[in-house]
């Protein structure tokens, strides 16, 4: 579990919106280690989905552009790879579970057809194999394969659909799965249930998972490492224990304090004051400084570098540099 399977270096992605250029991912470097479950956490609009779409090169073609950096995967730079090379990687080697999962299936096709067409598009024509593999996956996810495969999407509940998408993402036994908020549409119990399943599946099939969420508490239970995103930048990276027990960055600390707990006192829960910055005109210096209680003069002018506090624990903050 020590070598990286995906290495992101200095990645920059922009959207050309009507109001101007949105710097959605700005100079992000991140290693995804083989066999780990890494959580990517950040508020809404911090660029998490954009990062995922950049890795798969599925950004909306006319609006979005990768303007810099590299995404290294098995000797290939996905940031610049040609479409044929990407097609060999997509889904069979890196797949994903979309964020808006509830409407991700074709309403006019049965679930089984979604599995069939996906396999067929990657050169697998053996129907029996597909049915067996799909059934096995669905069973692992505690769904009744018979019933689910013969259903139309509208006949399934939100939680069932979500699990179907997870099964679809694993159909071709990919090395990496990117899960973009796969549980946000679910109630707490189903969410808990699916998270534990994901953890178990990852162990069983020895996959690498990148788990995107805005809810840092979700990562606490299942993740190996966490990358904290803020306004298109990585603020802190570390293993789950360190991030929760000894968060170094003021933003991470604020994020953890904002988690409501069932047993905790409501007064102890502190939402982060202020709002995330506009990514068309992000604040100079540290992007978090307008909301940071410790902000210094320097923070407003110069961007803090990423410093390694101890092996594997990095943060970008002038308090630590």
């Amino acid at each position: 579990m020590s070598e990286p399977i995906i290495s992101i270096r200095g990645l920059r992605v922009v959207y050309h919106a009507l109001r101007g250029v949105v710097k959605a991912v700005d100079n992000v470097s991140l290693d995804v280690m083989k066999g780990e479950l890494i959580g990517v956490v950040g508020e809404s609009g911090s660029g998490k989905t954009t990062l995922a779409m950049a890795i798969l090169r599925l950004l909306p073609p006319k609006v979005a552009r990768i303007v810099g950096g590299h995404i290294l995967f098995d000797g290939l730079d996905l940031a610049t790879a040609r479409e044929e090379e990407l097609r060999k990687v997509r889904w069979s080697r890196i797949s994903y579970v979309p964020q808006a999962a509830l409407n991700a299936l074709n309403p006019t096709l049965k679930i089984i057809d979604h599995f069939m067409e996906t396999a067929k598009s990657h050169g697998i024509r053996d129907r029996k194999w597909v049915v067996e593999r799909a059934s096995e996956l669905l069973e692992t996810l505690r769904l009744e394969p018979e019933r689910v495969l013969n259903s139309y999407p509208h006949e399934l509940s939100g939680g069932m659909k979500q699990r179907v998408l997870i099964a679809l993402s694993m159909l071709l036994n990919p090395e990496v799965i990117i899960l973009d908020e796969p549980t946000t549409a679910l109630d707490v119990l189903t969410q808990y249930f699916i998270l534990n399943l994901l953890r178990a599946i990852k162990e069983k099939y020895n996959m690498t998972m990148m788990f995107i969420t805005h809810d840092i508490a979700v990562i606490a239970g299942i993740g190996d490492r966490v990358a904290v995103f803020y306004a298109g930048k990585v603020m802190e990276i570390g293993d789950v224990y360190t991030i929760f027990k000894r968060p170094a960055h003021p933003y991470t600390r604020a994020l953890i304090k904002s988690i409501p707990t069932l047993t905790g006192n409501i007064e102890e829960m502190k939402p982060i004051p202020g709002t995330p910055p506009d990514l068309i005109n992000p604040p100079p210096g540290c992007r978090f400084h307008p909301r940071c209680p410790y902000a210094m003069e320097k923070c407003k002018r110069v961007e803090p570098p990423m410093v390694e506090l101890k092996p594997g624990h990095l943060a970008a903050c002038w308090l630590l540099a």
Binding site: W91, N103, A104, L105, N106, T108
Partner: protein
């Protein structure tokens, strides 16, 4: 299964109500068949109105007697027995049913062909426009179609008639077929007859297409644009499905769904034909018959033609409901 009985009862009541309304509206029109015929005689033979009216009465002895309520009851009873009365404007006494039966195939030929062509072409163009949304091609076609769809049918027909029949002489100016073609048919030359029929039908069909293709294209464009924004389309791309499959099964199929009901209703309305197009090309289909019947105040023929249209539209709507379930599993009902 219960809903289908309920649906059938509604169909029956709708038809019943529509026929009743047709009956009274037709009867409330100013003038009556005798008067219309008398006027014509006065105009043609320079008789006095009194004389003409006497003559007209003797020519058309089939007019309903008794007060209007009795007439209505008799008409309804006969209607459900399949008897629509007789015509007075055609060779007097011809059953309305046989006049309509002779006209319907011609109207269906023209309108069904036109409808299928304009629907297919409209859908394809609409999808291309949606895929090129915002391009010059898209906005150009959008402007063009909003113009063509607001052209009245008779204007389109007159322009086509003038250009392609009178000026260029490529197509005949009127009628369903030529006399010689009928003779050829009698001698067993089916091909020559069919060819002549198609040649005559071309301009009426084109007029219809010119007016209606834009509506289908714009409808499909809007519905495709919204389907293109759906998550399941992006997710299909991500799964690496070939674009052909995405265009047909993901975008096309889902985008056609909202147009399907209008298509089935249009199929129903097709039995009404187009009064204006048939009139301008003297094309003797239902629309033409209806026009003649109105001029002559031929009550039974008028009612018969309207009734056919009503029944066809209601059945079209019923079929649309029944078939929609096959296309869209979300509304499929348990068998």
């Amino acid at each position: 299964m219960k809903w289908i009985y309920r649906r059938l009862i509604i169909v029956f009541l709708t038809i019943y109500a529509a026929i009743t309304i047709t009956f009274f509206v037709v009867r409330a029109m100013p003038g009556d068949p005798i008067d219309a015929l008398a006027q014509e005689l006065v105009w043609k033979y320079h008789m006095s109105y009194e004389q003409a009216r006497q003559l007209a009465m003797s020519i058309a002895p089939f007019l309903p007697k008794g007060d209007i309520l009795h007439q209505y009851i008799r008409y309804m009873i006969n209607f459900f027995r399949g008897n629509l009365g007789v015509s007075i404007s055609y060779s007097t006494g011809t059953p309305v049913i046989s006049i309509l039966a002779a006209a319907i195939p011609w109207t269906v030929l023209v309108v069904a062909t036109a409808l299928i062509i304009s629907f297919t072409v409209g859908i394809l163009i609409g999808m291309v426009m949606a895929y090129k949304h915002g391009s010059k091609l898209d906005s150009g076609l959008a402007v063009l179609f909003s113009i063509t769809r607001s052209i009245p049918e008779y204007i389109a027909a007159i322009i086509l008639l003038w250009v392609f029949a009178f000026e260029l002489g490529w197509f005949p100016t009127r009628g369903r077929y030529d006399y010689w073609a009928l003779e050829a048919l009698k001698h067993g030359d089916v091909f020559a007859f069919v060819w002549d029929v198609m040649w005559h039908a071309t301009l009426p069909i084109l007029s219809w297409i010119v007016v209606h293709v834009g509506g289908w294209a714009l409808g499909m464009r809007g519905s495709t644009v919204s389907v293109l924004g759906e998550d399941f389309v992006h997710y299909a791309v991500a799964r690496g499905l070939p674009s052909r499959r995405i265009v047909v099964t993901y975008v096309g199929k889902n985008a056609i769904l909202p147009l399907f009901t209008s298509f089935m209703l249009a199929l129903g309305f097709m039995f009404g034909g187009s009064v204006f197009i048939e009139y301008i090309f003297s094309y003797q289909g239902i629309g033409w018959v209806l026009y003649q019947a109105i001029i002559e105040r031929d009550w039974f023929l008028m009612m018969g033609a309207f009734d056919i249209i009503v029944v066809a539209v209601v059945i079209g709507a019923l079929l649309a409901d029944l078939l929609y379930g096959f296309l869209d599993p979300r509304v499929r009902r348990p068998a």
